[in-house]
């Protein structure tokens, strides 16, 4: 790849928070697919009031992995442990570091309190795409995604060490001003083939109101090798959420939030069907969730509510035709569901 990433995927917070800190959020999100194993890493910055009442950027690092079930950690750091390089390409949070390189990302994870360490080199093998100023409740969010990267490196969680060598990965970077707990929900999905040789990569997004009664935006992006093959806008996409996954979350992070969230009920569907048709191109994707982790955040709208992001892994079957080429593969999916 070229230096597109270094030019477009730089850290926004130092520029945007100085102008208007209220409600600002930014996060770098990575999903790595290895056969039988998934990894999710998230570096985030949130503008919050300090103890003295002045705004500060609170950094958090989330690492969760799925082997037989999801497990992992979320750690909140003091703003004094945050450093952003002058070129806006390196975010250091305690011993953790995310570096935007011309051809991808280097992620160093060091959460000794949770016995989680790792080093990941994520090399872009597809062109990034940006979506600007999407409404989320009363705010807006912009995001950039890289549908497919090559992942190399290692991760150790407790006694388990996982080696990555040429595995497939997904990345998105989000920034904007909005309030957790506002009138919005979303479903965000990455689907990648099991093997690196299959050329197709899919990214799905649906934005709704908090009760999921109104779809505000949805799109399906399909990449072939490193280029966009088809972009299906809202009117070209139909999405169905069928049934309910009959199992409790594998884990809740941060763990104390289980006290307020309770335990058993799930609003993760049994399957998600996405049908997209446009100008002779047709894609059907069916994602079947297997298990999920709950990432909980305090609502910024209601002091007695929480916002839950369900990180769901599963298998995805994709069929269709784009530009006369057939798509037919069974791959891995990770979908994030935020249901208000």
């Amino acid at each position: 790849m070229t230096a597109v990433l270094a030019r477009s995927d730089f850290i926004r917070a130092p520029l945007l928070v100085a102008a208007r800190p209220a409600g600002f959020k930014e996060w770098y999100h990575f999903v790595v697919h290895r056969p039988g194993w998934r990894l999710l890493v998230n570096f985030s910055l949130t503008s919050e009031a300090s103890r003295a009442g002045s705004p500060q950027l609170t950094p958090r690092v989330i690492v969760i992995a799925h082997d037989q079930q999801w497990t992992g950690a979320i750690e909140r750091f003091d703003d004094s442990e945050l450093d952003v390089s002058a070129d806006l390409g390196v975010m250091t949070v305690g011993g953790n570091r995310m570096t935007v390189r011309p051809d991808g990302y280097r992620v160093v994870i060091d959460l000794p309190g949770h016995d989680v360490r790792g080093e990941l080199d994520l090399t872009s093998v597809s062109r990034p795409f940006a979506v600007n100023n999407q409404p989320v409740g009363d705010g807006r969010v912009s995001w950039l995604f890289v549908p497919r990267l090559r992942a190399d490196g290692w991760l150790r969680i407790g006694r388990q060490e996982i080696r990555l060598e040429g595995n497939v990965a997904y990345h998105d970077h989000n920034w904007g001003r909005f309030s957790w707990g506002g009138d919005f929900g979303w479903t965000w999905g990455t689907i990648l083939p099991s093997g690196p040789d299959d050329p197709w990569s899919l990214v799905f997004q649906q934005m709704t109101d908090r009760r999921r009664l109104r779809c505000l935006y949805q799109a399906l992006w399909v990449w072939r090798h490193d280029e966009p093959a088809a972009i299906f806008p809202p009117a070209a996409v139909q999405t169905g959420f069928r049934g309910m996954l009959g199992r409790a979350a594998d884990c809740t992070l941060p763990p104390p939030m289980r006290l307020v969230l309770g335990g058993e009920a799930s609003d993760v569907p049994e399957r998600i069907e996405i049908a997209a048709t446009r100008a002779g191109d047709v894609v059907h994707a069916e994602f079947r969730p297997q298990s999920y982790a709950r990432l909980a955040r305090p609502s910024e709208v209601h002091l007695d509510r929480s916002v839950v992001l369900c990180e769901t892994n599963g298998t995805a079957r994709v069929t269709g035709t784009i530009n006369g080429e057939n798509i037919d593969f069974v791959g891995a999916g990770v979908f994030e569901l935020l249901n208000g």
């Binding site: 103890r51 609170t58 809740t252 763990p255 104390p256 939030m257 289980r258 006290l259 307020v260």
Partner: protein, 134 residues
């Protein structure tokens, strides 16, 4: 020597008052006139409201609800190893009182957790809780 749980709770509610005053007020409202007596591994203290949340060492005198538990059971709950209903059913958390008072104590617990997860000081206090005897 490990810091007493009553001391940690006293420091915790003090931080909530400073760091998240609106959430702190919701805890006060949830508790109302109820006095909760807590027994953690034999350490006895009471939580009462009014104008401020107060944690007093020793028995409560007249308590509307009484909670009996252990430091280990509290950590299991905070680490999400067990759910609250599971802990009550297993007997690692015991609750006594009238239904109204038990429900009020439960609402207060939820309000306290909602406040604590919004306050930056609380992870440090959780670590202090871990340094005690299991």
């Amino acid at each position: 020597m490990a810091e007493h749980v009553s001391s940690l709770l006293r420091r915790s509610v003090g931080h909530l008052e400073d760091e998240v005053p609106d959430s702190y007020r919701l805890v006060l409202e949830a508790l109302g006139p109820l006095v909760v007596e807590v027994d953690v591994d034999g350490e006895l203290f009471a939580l009462r409201g009014g104008r401020r949340l107060e944690v007093a060492d020793g028995p409560a005198g007249v308590a509307g609800a009484r909670i009996t538990t252990s430091r280990a059971a509290i950590l299991d709950l905070l680490d999400a190893k067990v759910a609250l209903d599971e802990a009550v059913q297993a007997g690692t958390v015991g609750v006594q009182g009238s239904l109204d008072d038990v429900l009020r104590a439960h609402d207060t617990l939820l309000a306290y957790v909602h406040a604590a997860v919004r306050a930056p000081s609380q992870p440090g206090l959780l670590e202090a809780l871990r340094t005690g005897p299991p």
